[in-house]
């Protein structure tokens, strides 16, 4: 199997901020339902953030930014700092993998991530009575005291790999679609193999309307955003335009 570079292009002009991606992510990955968690202590591997251009009246514009692990592929900040190799870039897929079983819970990776896309399990995982029956059997829950993040629905990748192995073929793109991509009602999130020049996602990523957040840090994130709005594209540069977050999604 040739090495893939899985990535995304998120069309911000299509994103309505409905939060379906967040719900799908939580459901797929057995994110615990913790009533005691706050916006700063909850587990949201996919987090839709609502931002504005900081203007008022008719000039005001707003957009929604789904923020998740960007799966950086150069000098990956979290991989470099983890003291016990609990984080690694899978060379076969380009996915930045987190191994909760090996995680010490030192949270150094969280301080290293410029996107704040890593989350700590501050509490033991728990679900309301009966809800555990709806858990995904393909994904293990994470214990208290370890870090987790988006792994591009790795259980789905495993499933697709098994299917491909059984058929003695490469992974079919239709077999591996992360939950957030599948759930998005407007098709704002596109997922594909950036190593494949013919993949629509690769072509979209090269569009003049596409950009990556904090690209100048040099970490080569594999999640691209796309917008026709200049003020949204300007957010690629931290100093380029005044912007403020309205609230977490």
């Amino acid at each position: 199997m040739s090495a893939a570079r899985y990535g995304m292009v998120i069309d911000l002009d299509r994103c309505t901020g409905c939060g379906s991606c967040m719900v799908a992510c939580a459901s797929e990955n057995n994110i615990p339902a913790l009533p005691q968690a706050t916006a700063r202590t909850g587990l949201t591997p996919m987090l839709v953030r609502r931002v504005s251009n900081s203007k008022q009246g008719s000039e005001r514009r707003e957009a929604f930014f789904p923020i998740m692990c960007m799966h950086c592929e150069h000098e990956t900040p979290c991989v470099k700092v983890c003291p016990q190799q609990a984080v690694e870039v899978d060379k076969a897929t380009g996915v930045v993998m987190q191994m909760p079983q090996r995680c010490l819970g030192c949270r150094y990776c969280m301080t290293a991530c410029p996107y704040h896309a890593r989350y700590f399990n501050w509490w033991d995982p728990s679900w309301p009575a009966g809800m555990e029956k709806s858990l995904n059997p393909g994904v293990s829950s994470r214990m208290r005291g370890v870090v987790e993040k988006c792994n591009l629905c790795h259980a789905r990748l495993h499933s697709a790999m098994e299917k491909a192995a059984a058929g003695k073929r490469e992974i079919d793109a239709a077999d591996y679609i992360p939950a957030c991509v599948e759930a998005c009602p407007t098709g704002a999130i596109q997922f594909g193999n950036l190593a494949d020049a013919n993949d629509p996602v690769t072509k979209e990523s090269k569009s003049p309307e596409s950009f990556r957040l904090l690209a100048r840090l040099g970490t080569e994130p594999k999640v691209y955003y796309k917008s026709k709005e200049a003020w949204v594209r300007a957010l690629a540069e931290p100093n380029a335009a005044p912007a403020s977050e309205v609230q977490h999604g």
């Binding site: 923020i67 090996r102 030192c106 150094y108 301080t111 033991d124 904090l214 840090l217």
Partner: protein, 419 residues
């Protein structure tokens, strides 16, 4: 019938004057209470998890990391004094050597204790040794701090075994003599380990490409903060030793070391602090003009958030850097104990401020264009745990001072640090 008076006289070195046992116990009481509260708070964190703290996903490090970095820097006096005495043969510093070892032991063991509470899965601490990521600064810190704490323990043991009663145990006496012969070797190993972990602690934040406020370029794999941390630690260590010794002299009302030792420590601390301030200034200029802009960040925007404005930078470099360095180097200051200690306290404060800026301010600042500046207030469990470490330090030092020959003893001419 004669009344029985509880005494520990026979445990105190012959010829040494110490306060009565009852007064000593009275002194220990509040510290023991503080330690007990700290242990309780730490137990809550270990049992219920880090949800007992006010840290969160953005403020993933908090008070504990700041204090760890701070006390490890201040504890650098231990390895640096050993280096000066045993490697550079500055024998005039021998009177301060034992107290340096005890202070270092307290600082490092306290920091390791706090680190064990600060991780989510303390029982997995050994994973770092089993699956080490050799590219991680934290791996280097873990290895070096663990090894150096072992070295400090081995350096502390000969002092412990020179207790009046323990010396009567033949096997301990022989063990102490054997260990004592190893002390110069331990000092050399300690110096090597300390240089690396002090530097790695600086590197912890300096390598964070994703945190442009902290990120620094450097030499080969080491960011500039690696070298700045070493310099600042060896500059503040002697100042902290001066403060500790002067405090003990004040509390006990006794002259413990010759004024010459203070003068020498002041000069060393002042000189190193001056070099550090120069290096820090150059580093700041490089960061302002090259490193930060190249990452797409206007550097002054980091100082636009109150209360972390430019005064904090001024405080770090001038008020608590250049000023105490000048005072410590000024010959007349050395003869004025009050001024000398003020300068030493300012030098230590400057290093603590630097650690605060690098740890807390870095996390408070936004990175994404729509991030907000964050605030964080530690929970009582975090504060109490650290209070417990301070109490532990005071108790260990008090016990060491009372029962061990920290500054030599009248009844025992062979000074541990001497021969």
């Amino acid at each position: 019938m004669a009344s029985t008076v509880l005494t520990d006289r026979r445990w105190i070195a012959r010829g040494e004057e110490r306060t009565s046992l009852s007064r000593f116990l009275l002194w220990l009481t509040p510290w023991t209470v503080l330690l007990a509260i700290g242990v309780y708070a730490a137990a809550l964190c270990l049992w219920y998890g880090l949800n007992q703290t006010n840290m969160d996903n953005r403020f993933a490090f908090g008070l504990w990391i700041f204090l760890d970095l701070g006390i490890i820097a201040l504890g650098a006096g231990a390895f640096f004094t050993g280096f000066l005495v045993y490697i550079l043969k500055r024998s005039e510093l021998k009177p301060i050597l034992n107290t340096a070892v005890v202070v270092g032991f307290i600082c490092y063991s306290g920091a390791v204790a706090i680190l064990m509470i600060d991780v989510g899965q303390p029982l997995r601490a050994w994973f770092t040794f089993w699956h080490p990521n050799t590219h991680s600064m934290l791996t280097e810190v873990t290895f070096c701090i663990s090894c150096y704490l072992l070295v400090l323990s081995l350096e502390y043991l000969p002092i412990l075994f020179r207790n009046r009663q323990l010396r009567k145990v033949p096997s301990l006496f022989v063990f102490e003599r054997q260990l004592h012969m190893l002390v110069p070797v331990l000092a050399a190993i300690g110096t090597l380990l300390s240089f690396f972990h002090q530097g790695s602690l600086g590197g912890l934040y300096g390598v964070l490409r994703g945190r442009p406020f902290a990120f620094r370029t450097g030499i080969l794999i080491w960011p500039s903060t690696f070298f700045l941390f070493i310099l600042s630690a060896i500059a503040s260590g002697p100042s902290f030793l001066m403060l500790v010794t002067a405090t003990v002299e004040k509390v006990t009302g006794r002259r413990l070391v010759p004024q010459d030792v203070f003068r020498r420590l002041a000069f060393i601390s002042g000189l190193l602090l001056a070099i550090y301030v120069a290096a820090k200034s150059i580093d700041t200029l490089v960061w302002l003009n090259v490193t930060s802009p190249s990452a797409g960040f206007a550097p002054w925007q980091f100082y636009a958030h109150k209360p972390f404005g430019t005064p904090i930078l001024f405080g770090e470099i001038v008020l608590f850097g250049l000023l105490p360095a000048s005072l410590l180097l000024y010959r007349k200051t050395a003869n004025h104990q009050g001024l000398l200690l003020t300068a030493a306290a300012m030098a230590c404060s400057g290093i603590l401020l630097n650690r605060f800026v690098l740890t807390v301010q870095t996390l408070a600042l936004p990175t994404l264009p729509f991030d907000e500046f964050l605030s964080y207030m530690p929970s009582w469990q975090e504060i109490a745990s650290f209070g417990g470490v301070i109490a532990y330090g005071v108790i260990v030092y008090s016990l060491s001072y009372r029962y061990l020959p920290l500054f030599g003893s009248k009844g025992d001419a062979s000074h541990v640090s001497g021969n």
